[in-house]
Amino acid sequence: MLKDLAFILGTTLMYATPLIYASLGAVFSENSGVANIGIEGMMTVGAFSAAASAFILSDVYGILWWVPWVAFIIGGLAGGFFGLLHAVASVSFHADQVVSGIAINFLAPGLSLFLSRRLFEGATMTPAIPLNAKLPRPLNGVIENSILDTIFNQYASVYIAFLLVLLSWYVLYKTKLGLRIRAVGEHPKAADTLGINVYKIRYFSVILSGILAGLGGASLSMAIVASFRPTLISGQGFIALAAMIFGKWKPQGAMGACLLFGATTGIQIYLGSPQVGLNISANLLSMIPYVITLVVLMGFVGKAVAPAADGIPYEKGER
């Protein structure tokens, strides 16, 4: 029994991690007043860039300790680049943020595929990264208790995700920068009057959101698996956005929602396993995450209020 619980918890952590990165990204962007539907595309390009760089770097320099980290960061930067595109379109040019986001969702996977074919002899999936060039598992072999090992022996990306939640909460609610981000998202005109550079804050937040989404993609392609393929990111970005709304636009709330999604998947896999022997149709089991989400959404989560200026382009001097 304890073993099963450990399995569900371990799966929860693994499954939730990419979602946590991406939903933190969404939290920053939306709190500054820019809707970011493009998270999915940013994750895709992050996943591709990280997997491709990890493979190429380990091929060129050998397997050194810094290789996975540099590749991980490259994944983040690639996502950040698309964040920049989104910012240029939606902040500087006041484009419809939803349209810009959708454009990114088409552009980013397309570019990833194109580059993959260029770099890897026409293949749409990257070659597998050598095991030692994946992100490290700091607690691998350290924990002797097998139950705790099942839960906590995770890739470094998992721990970093939780540290980032803490950091994001601190930045958003305990620093001047965070106050400015939220001010710009609630009432950009008022913030502007008080001398805050609305555009600068929004640029910062949207690029940061791209970086976080890119890291989320990288945490899939460099830890959960070790290669990129076109179907690797299929819907995680949108689930992360839903998690952000579910979590009321707060980092800790979004984390909770991601963990809930992870846990329901873990439960679903556990219940479907031959050991449990329930013999329920896999189709019915697949409904579990959605049913639980609906129940929680209806019963336990109060009214969610988006930042007042979310999704509205800000034009200086407009009345």
Binding site: K3, F7, T11, M14, Y15, A35, I37, E40, T44, V98, I102, N105, F106, P109, G110, L113, R117, G122, A123, T124, M125, A128, L131, L220, I224, V225, A226, S227, R229, P230, T231, L232, I233, S234, G235, G237, F238, I239, L241, A242, I245, T265, G266, I269, Y270, G272, S273, P274, Q275, S281, A282, N283, L285, S286, A304, V305, A306, D310, G311, I312
Partner: protein, 348 residues
């Protein structure tokens, strides 16, 4: 904004599966070879790939290799059109019809309806399709090609049954429907034939793309004592192979030789030789034996399925010798491999 975002989100989630795989639609024209017709007009054969593209290291690539072989050995003119999304199938077929191809291939189950419609619109054009059987309703100008997936699954099941040390092996299925059942029950029968005491853990992931789920299911199976897992779950199986690689366990691949993904762990793969099927149909066409209106079934006998050639790296020779003997028995009809649950249960 909240409502708007929510509505959009839901729409996008529905679209996500579609979008993720295909990227932007680019009118890619991989034109059929230069049309400077040589003295004797060669046969022109073209194929429409599924959304994976021609270099997907799987299905479509295998099909293209078959066509290339036909080009080399039979002197036909080969070309392809890549589909970026399902909506491209019809336009790609139109393009190839306009290019006056003698035979047009649709690669993959998903193209079934499109090929049928095209066949009705162009009754003089010959078509063929991989993985789709129209049964009695096959149009006169279409050849359906299907594979006996249960046969290689039986063989890899036999290998798994012989090689397991824990007497527990696993199977991860993509979705719970008849094509995957062929893999499932063929494998079960193979394992039982090797060793009736081996327990087979079976779980369906209900997804062909969720690699994290494949990973999690495999982690649990290995933790519960399975030491070899076979998958018929597309990209979901990638997660399973990754766990095998991390934990140093054995895995069995599907459709193509998956050994390069994890050279020390993928002991064998249940392969579909799409290339052979394509080549054979090209040869038949050249010899004037085009089997329009029929469904051709490719099994071991026809060289349409097999286990991966890389099996000799990790599977002991004695077992492979036994597998060869089994192949002969399957080909001669002495062993009938079950393809459905009913057939499997009837065997006992």
């Amino acid at each position: 904004m909240f409502k708007k975002t929510m509505a959009l989100l839901l729409t996008m989630m529905l679209l996500a599966g579609l979008v993720a795989g295909c990227g932007p639609k680019a009118p890619e024209q991989q034109q059929p070879g230069e049309n400077n017709a040589p003295a004797e007009k060669p046969l022109k054969i073209a194929m429409v790939t599924d959304v994976g593209g021609v270099n997907d290291r799987s299905f479509n690539q295998s099909a293209w290799e078959g066509l290339q072989r036909a080009q080399k050995e039979l002197g036909v003119q080969a070309s392809y059109q890549e589909s970026k999304q399902e909506a491209d199938y019809a336009t790609n077929i139109e393009t190839l019809v306009d290019a006056e191809n003698d035979l047009i291939w649709g690669i993959g189950f998903l193209m079934g309806e499109t090929i049928k419609t095209a066949a009705q619109n162009y009754p003089d054009q010959k078509f063929a399709i991989i993985d789709y059987a129209y049964g009695d309703e096959t149009p006169e100008n279409v050849v359906g090609v299907v594979f006996k997936e249960e046969e290689p699954s039986y063989l890899v099941g036999y290998i798994a049954g012989k090689m397991t040390k824990t007497n527990k092996v696993g199977f991860i299925g993509g979705m719970d429907f008849p094509v995957i059942h062929k893999f499932h029950y063929g494998y079960l029968a193979g394992v039982k034939a090797a060793n009736p005491n081996v327990e087979v853990m079976v779980q369906y992931a209900n997804s062909f793309t969720d690699e994290a789920k494949g990973r999690s299911i495999a982690e649990q199976m290995y933790a519960n004592g399975a030491d070899i897992i076979f998958h018929a779950a597309g990209a979901t199986g990638n997660g399973m192979i990754e766990v095998a690689r991390e934990k140093g366990k054995y895995a069995i691949g599907v459709d193509k030789d998956q050994n390069p993904d994890a050279p020390d762990n993928v002991i064998t793969s249940a392969m579909k030789r799409v290339d052979n099927a394509i080549f054979n149909v090209a040869k038949d066409l050249k010899d004037g034996k085009y089997a329009g209106g029929e469904t051709v079934v490719y099994g071991l006998k026809e060289g349409g399925v097999d286990i991966a050639p890389s099996s000799s790296k990790l599977v002991p020779k004695e077992i492979l010798d036994e597998v060869e003997a089994l192949k002969a028995k399957i080909i001669s009809g002495e062993i009938k491999v079950p393809a459905t649950k009913e057939e499997f249960e009837a065997m006992k």
